[in-house]
């Protein structure tokens, strides 16, 4: 007889004595549910809007005795759908983070640099406002308003106008300007919505918002998979999205556009496109057909490593699908390689010629709700110059999209070209949002920096004046649904708790500084009256919207459609041949540029791809304890077989070196990546000692990235000004 452990114990009468019946629990063991430990009499739910990522999910905050204890998605919101991602759930950590900036501080250490302690001195708000106004006024007097820049989120545009500066900087050229520009010129809008809820076919080129838990898209991607939609993913690594796909192709990094061009070739040459739709809603089809004729599946196969037969089959499946979509968001395949523009143009063309725009299950236009405009009491006098420090004035379409050439700022400051920059107000931009931060640190040594910030990150350490900001849980806002607005919808938030410590809102801070500079009449009004005014378009106040659950859908909750002959493009239609690009002398068609394909990596060399953990946004969440303990540090993923050749063991520290810098980081061995590619999750390597959890954990992939000068940028991507962070090869060796 086989004496298993269980049998033996049964024999002893130990395991068998529990009087259980099949599927039922012994009744004598059943007891009532324990009563909740906390009395829940003082619970109030407050309306909120998540401020962590751009999706701005509407949410509810559970407040007990004045303490925010839990955040939950607001089910009225078409974006959050009642759920929140890990980051959203961890929002409370931002509010109650003991490391938080609590009061205004000024640096007493004149030396600035990586790892240098600013030797902060606490000051009063009055002193802080006076100091800021005095410094900025002096600089404006001596060098002009243009010597002052604003970094971050276009939240200081009115202030810049008031002082006459054109230097409104945002990070998008290291992120999604390629997608924005391509969409603008072809569709007349900056983005489209992948309608996963109804789709039958999804093509992903590095798109991994499922793995990064972008709420609405992750949720609806799961729904699409549940419905049996086909998902094909091209990605050098098996991303979480790819792990769900029926087909995954580990494409050669930086060559995705070739697949799209070849698929266009197949669909057009085999006449699989929707001719009626093309004729009715698009322009430039013949020119596109002519261009893509040269991109055969065999050519693409050679470049990408994806078999030609699969390219042809997928193209046919895509064209035959009842509905199909190619999602495109940020920093994925498109944004980090110089042929990215062709990729996005090609993606839009693929969906357009198969009739998938404004079709359920395809790509939908954003239906953004309108609000009453608010404007400053007095019109600002006008900009001193249109020439910008970052050189964005040399990229007219990018500038029309409202974006900057982020990467070139460091060189411009260092070389004082085209003119010297003397001060910057930096809001919600961490140092790690900047490519090659070491270069930016050098540049920032030349500036007087006012940092409006929540946590004592590296940017705060580089600042001359640190002003503590409120979080989105301590302030109110009116937020138009954008990322996934299938119908117009507005979410409103109220402060869930009183602002902690001495924190103040950005608008209050800027108004107080502007007042002291005598320019506050040029600022947009702020406060609750503004929110009421914005909402008065619908005859509602902020309070009314909160009473209705925090979210309103002024035109009902049916999906709205846009007339595809009345787009904001010059022709009003989808422009397969982008006339706006032609007007500016750019190539109007998706075109392969062979000189911008990376050389094949030699032994010990790798393509670099980056990602980020679903629990973190950019470099800003690493210090928050609930998400910190999930992923305390990052690593470089290396294919197991390649690592074996290099003698690298799992968990061992390695040096990753690019032409622009090097980092020391732990290796994670995996089979889920191309043997010639390494992947690093972004956001780590914090060197601010004041971030008690994140300090010195992992490494920053941004140290490997170039911060390209404006000239280099113009050569590589003259249209969208993308930094193309990953257009490089790295070397990996044992540390």
């Amino acid at each position: 007889m086989e004496l298993t452990r269980r049998n033996f114990l049964k024999y002893l009468g130990i395991a068998a004595a529990a009087g259980t019946v099949q599927g039922k629990i012994a009744l004598d063991l059943l007891r009532p549910v324990p009563s909740q430990a906390t009395t829940e009499s003082n619970v109030i739910y407050k309306a909120g809007v998540c401020g962590i990522c751009g999706m701005n999910c509407a949410m509810k905050g559970k407040v007990v005795d004045g303490v925010l204890i839990k955040l939950e998605g607001n089910e009225l919101d078409q974006q959050s759908g009642g759920s929140l991602c890990a980051k959203g759930n961890a929002g409370i950590n931002i509010l109650y983070n003991p490391d938080r900036l609590k009061y205004p501080m000024v640096r007493t250490n004149p030396e600035k640099g990586i790892g240098v302690d600013p030797k902060w001195k606490r000051i009063s708000w009055e002193e802080a406002f006076d100091l800021a106004a005095q410094k900025l006024s002096e600089i404006k007097e001596q060098y002009g308003g243009k010597a002052i820049a604003w970094f971050g989120g276009h939240k200081g545009t009115d202030f810049l106008k008031a002082i006459g500066s054109p230097n409104d900087f945002c990070h998008h050229s290291t992120c999604d300007t390629v997608r924005e520009v391509a969409c603008e010129v072809m569709l007349g809008t900056s983005a489209y919505i992948p309608d996963f809820a109804e789709t039958d076919y999804i093509l992903s080129f590095g798109w991994d918002q499922f793995g990064k838990a972008k709420n609405a898209w992750a949720r609806l991607m799961a729904k699409a998979l549940d419905r049996g939609a086909k998902l094909v993913v091209f990605d050098p690594r098996l991303s979480p999205t790819a792990s769900k796909a029926q087909e995954w192709y580990p494409v050669v990094p930086g060559t995705d556009h070739a697949l799209v061009l070849a698929m266009l070739n197949v669909i057009i040459s085999e006449k699989l496109y929707d001719a009626e739709y093309v004729a009715k809603y698009t322009t430039g089809f013949d020119k596109l057909a002519e261009e893509v004729r040269k991109y055969s599946p065999e050519w693409a196969a050679e470049l990408t490593g994806v078999p030609a037969a699969d390219i042809v089959r997928i193209a046919r499946e895509f064209a035959a699908a009842k509905s199909a979509v190619i999602p495109c968001h940020k920093r994925e395949a498109a944004q980090v390689h110089p042929n990215g523009m062709a990729l996005v143009q090609g993606m839009i063309a693929l969906m357009a010629i198969t009739g998938n725009f404004e079709r359920r299950g395809g790509a939908m236009f954003r239906k953004k709700a309108k609000l009453n405009k608010v404007s400053p009491p007095e019109e600002a006098p006008g900009l001193e110059t249109t020439i910008r420090v970052d050189g964005a004035d040399r990229l007219p379409i990018l500038l029309e999209c409202g974006h900057a050439v982020y990467q070139s700022i460091a060189d411009a400051i260092l070389e004082e070209k085209p003119y010297p920059l003397k001060a910057a107000i930096i809001y919600k931009q961490g140092l790690f949002s900047m490519p090659n931060p070491a270069k930016f640190v050098e540049a920032f040594k030349k500036l007087f920096i006012i940092n409006i910030n929540i946590q004592p990150d590296e940017m705060a350490l580089l600042a001359d004046l640190v002003l503590p900001d409120v979080t989105y849980m301590e302030s109110a806002t009116v937020s138009v649904r954008k990322y996934h607005a299938l119908y117009p919808q507005i979410a409103v938030s109220e402060p869930m708790v009183k602002p902690m410590y001495e924190t103040k809102s950005r608008s209050t801070i800027i108004r107080e500084i502007a007042k002291r500079m005598g320019i506050d009449q040029y600022l947009n009004p702020s406060g609750s009256s503004v929110r009421d005014q914005q909402l008065s378009l619908y005859g509602l106040t902020q309070k009314d919207v909160i009473a209705q659950g925090g979210v309103i859908s002024p035109e009902g909750t049916e999906v709205k459609y846009k007339d595809l002959t009345k787009l904001s493009t010059p022709s009003g239609k989808i422009e397969l041949y982008a006339t706006r690009l032609a007007e500016h002398g750019y190539n109007p068609l998706p075109t392969h540029r062979d000189e911008w394909i990376l050389p094949k990596p030699k032994a010990g060399e790798f393509y670099l791809v980056t990602t980020r953990f679903a629990t973190h946004r950019h470099a800003q969440m690493q210090n928050y304890r609930w998400v910190h303990e999930i992923y305390p540090e990052n690593y470089v993923s290396i294919n197991k077989k390649t690592a074996a050749i290099l003698g690298i063991a799992d968990g061992e520290e390695v040096i990753v070196e690019s032409p622009y810098g090097q980092i020391k980081i732990k290796a994670k061995l995996t089979e889920a990546i191309r043997p010639d590619t390494v992947c690093i999750p972004h956001g780590y390597g914090h060197w601010s000692k004041y971030l008690s959890n994140a300090y010195s954990k992992g490494a920053n992939d941004g140290d490997l990235a170039p911060a390209r000068s404006i000239e280099e940028t113009l050569e590589m991507d003259p249209v969208a000004g993308s930094n193309n962070d990953c257009h490089l090869l790295v070397k990996v060796r044992k540390a």
């Binding site: 452990r5 395991a15 004595a17």
Partner: protein, 288 residues
């Protein structure tokens, strides 16, 4: 947390001390009932029996993460839990063993001694078995969840109990060399039995699907030194050799007082220690 240790030295000490009490109680009872050696042996073992387990209970309470609730374990019993059975034995054993010892010390209620001996033996075997089964009942643990481990702990309990009694018999009661030799025979038999049980355990792991990890950690891993050196060599093989030397197995008998039983006792602790710790190291928590 990976390989987090929740049961630490307190549990090892507790299992060790409970074993000594069990073993010496059985020795005292056997000699009482069958009169194999002089009465001093019974006395020595009977005096030893009640006390180690009391120290063990103290260690057990110190290990609790909610010690103030300790009394609940006396009020509530769960008969599917080995631990509840243990509580029964641990409640009954010390008073009975103490009574038995008092009887020998004072000479009171002499006519009930045989009955007491039977009770002490039964409870002693109960404690010894329980201390082994406490871990063996955790069937999912690749190291602990093995009935043979229960047998090992029981044999080791007898062995350490006999050795503790031997030391007291030798130094407090100055028993005859003849009796000591007799006890050395018992001790040697138990050691050989223990070695056999260990061999059965190791062979069992070698053929069981999850046993590889157990073998690895005991024979090659973090705990190999303490298991091979502390338990096998110095806890079993060396005292066995000393016993055989004493019994004249290698020619002229030589008396080396105390060394062999002391080594057995130390080895007995190491056995509990290594099993308690290694069992947690190879069976890490997934949550926490």
């Amino acid at each position: 947390m990976h390989g987090e240790v929740l049961w630490n030295v307190y549990i090892a000490i507790y299992l060790f001390l409970a074993g000594i009490s069990a073993g010496s109680a059985v020795l005292a009872a056997v000699n009482q009932l069958f009169g194999i050696w002089e009465e001093k042996v019974t006395k020595a073992a009977a005096y030893v029996a009640p006390f180690p387990v009391m120290g063990g209970l103290l260690a057990l309470v110190l290990d609790l993460s909610r010690p103030l609730n300790f009394y609940q374990v006396m009020l509530h019993y769960n008969w599917t839990s080995v631990m509840s059975w243990g509580v029964v034995f641990l409640n009954l054993f010390p008073p009975v063993a103490l009574l038995f010892a008092v009887s020998h010390f004072t000479g009171w209620f002499e006519k009930y001694r045989k009955a007491l001996a039977v009770a002490v033996m039964a409870l002693g075997v109960g404690i010894g078995t329980y201390a082994g089964l406490l871990l063996a009942a955790i069937s999912a643990n690749p190291l602990w969840g093995n009935p043979v481990l229960g047998v090992l702990f029981l044999v080791s309990a007898l062995s350490t109990g006999v050795c503790a009694a031997m030391l007291v018999a030798q130094f407090v009661f100055k028993v005859s060399h003849q009796s000591l030799k007799g006890l050395a025979v018992v001790d040697s038999t138990l050691i050989i039995l223990e070695l056999v049980v260990i061999a059965v355990l190791l062979i069992g792991w070698a053929v069981a699907p999850t046993g590889g990890k157990a073998l690895q950690i005991l024979l090659a891993g973090e705990y190999a030194g303490i298991f091979l050196g502390g338990v096998l060599v110095f806890g079993l093989l060396v005292p066995l050799a000393l016993n055989l030397l004493e019994l004249g197995a290698f020619g002229k008998a030589r008396h080396i007082p105390a060394v062999a039983p002391l080594l057995v006792l130390v080895g007995g602790y190491f056995l509990r220690h290594v099993i308690v710790y290694a069992g947690q190291a190879i069976y890490p928590l997934l949550l926490g």
